[in-house]
């Protein structure tokens, strides 16, 4: 995976993205605007994070899941 590997380590873009979703629920466009990441990269990362159950989608808005919070916390401790 590009944004999170099998050991649960987040890529810099993945960490940035998950970190922004830990603060508030955002749309794809919001995430792209806030992070400066191109929209294609945001969509690709969100898809991977949804598959890894790190985030939840509700009404076209994305928010961090409990599992996502744990992974983000672990990555923040590892840095």
């Amino acid at each position: 995976m590009a944004c999170v590997n099998e050991k649960g380590q987040l890529s810099p873009a993945g960490k940035k993205l998950l970190g922004s979703l830990a603060v508030e629920s955002l749309t794809t466009q919001d995430i792209s605007k806030n992070s400066g990441l191109p929209i294609f990269k945001v969509r690709s990362n969100l898809r991977e994070m949804l598959n890894a159950e790190l985030i939840i989608e509700e009404n076209n808005q994305y928010k961090i899941s409990e599992k996502g919070k744990q992974i983000l916390e672990k990555n923040n401790l590892d840095k």
Partner: protein, 219 residues
């Protein structure tokens, strides 16, 4: 079509004006789908192989125009019949030897799935490599322009940039662009479709007409 017990599926290749075929592919920046690009323009291009001289010169050229393309809401996506590892090694080599960081993703199309969908392989030239194809796909995922170059000839980056600018100007202003048009040059007003409109046009002070069918204006 079935001939001699061999099934040959006849596929229609993308044409200008058609919806660009969807794909999901491994790239040097993770798995990407064409639909990930919805809302932005895309220059999807193929090259014959990593670690070859013409392709290296082209990738450096593509990287040079990438910031300008991004300002025009346009992304770049390369493709060749090489592995992700090969792409990553080549990207690192270009960085090391030429000091250029290739920032756009490259599809690793080892099974030629995307190349075949887009007609990027010219079997008479090479059955194992993709030719130098360029597909300009707009923000609604419609194919707007197609360019093919052979293996031996590197593409002109300024022409690709000019093409995207011209297509976007056409969409924004409902105009056409003449031969060798560059940004800032006069554009062509679409020809009048009725005699009445032709008369109106000849008396319109906001445009310059050589004759009713050839009128230009500044944007």
């Amino acid at each position: 079509m079935i001939e001699n017990n061999v099934t040959n599926e006849v596929k229609s290749l993308p044409r200008i004006g058609s919806v660009a075929p969807e794909f999901e592919a491994a790239t040097s920046q993770g798995t990407l789908r064409l639909s990930d690009y919805k809302g932005s323009w895309l220059v999807l291009f193929s090259h014959p192989a990593d670690f070859t001289p013409v392709c290296t010169s082209e990738f450096i050229g593509f990287q040079e125009i990438y910031p300008q393309l991004r300002e025009m809401n346009t992304e770049l996506l390369g493709l060749s019949v090489d592995s992700v590892s090969s792409h990553v090694a080549w990207i690192r080599n270009v960085q090391e030897k030429f000091g250029v960081t290739l920032e756009f993703p490259i599809i690793a199309d080892l099974n030629k799935e995307v190349a075949q969908k887009y007609g990027m392989i010219m079997p008479e030239e090479s059955s194992t490599e993709t030719s130098r194809a360029v597909f300009v796909i707009d923000d609604k995922q419609i194919v707007r322009a197609i360019i093919y170059y052979p293996l031996s000839t590197g593409r002109n980056m300024q022409e690709i940039l000019r093409l995207v600018k011209a297509l976007q100007a056409t969409d924004e202003h409902n105009i056409a662009t003449p031969a060798n048009w560059q940004e800032g040059d006069k554009v062509l007003v679409p020809p009048a479709t009725t005699d009445e409109l032709a008369n109106e046009r000849m008396n319109d002070d906001s445009i310059e007409c050589i004759d009713w069918y050839y009128c230009t204006k500044k944007l």
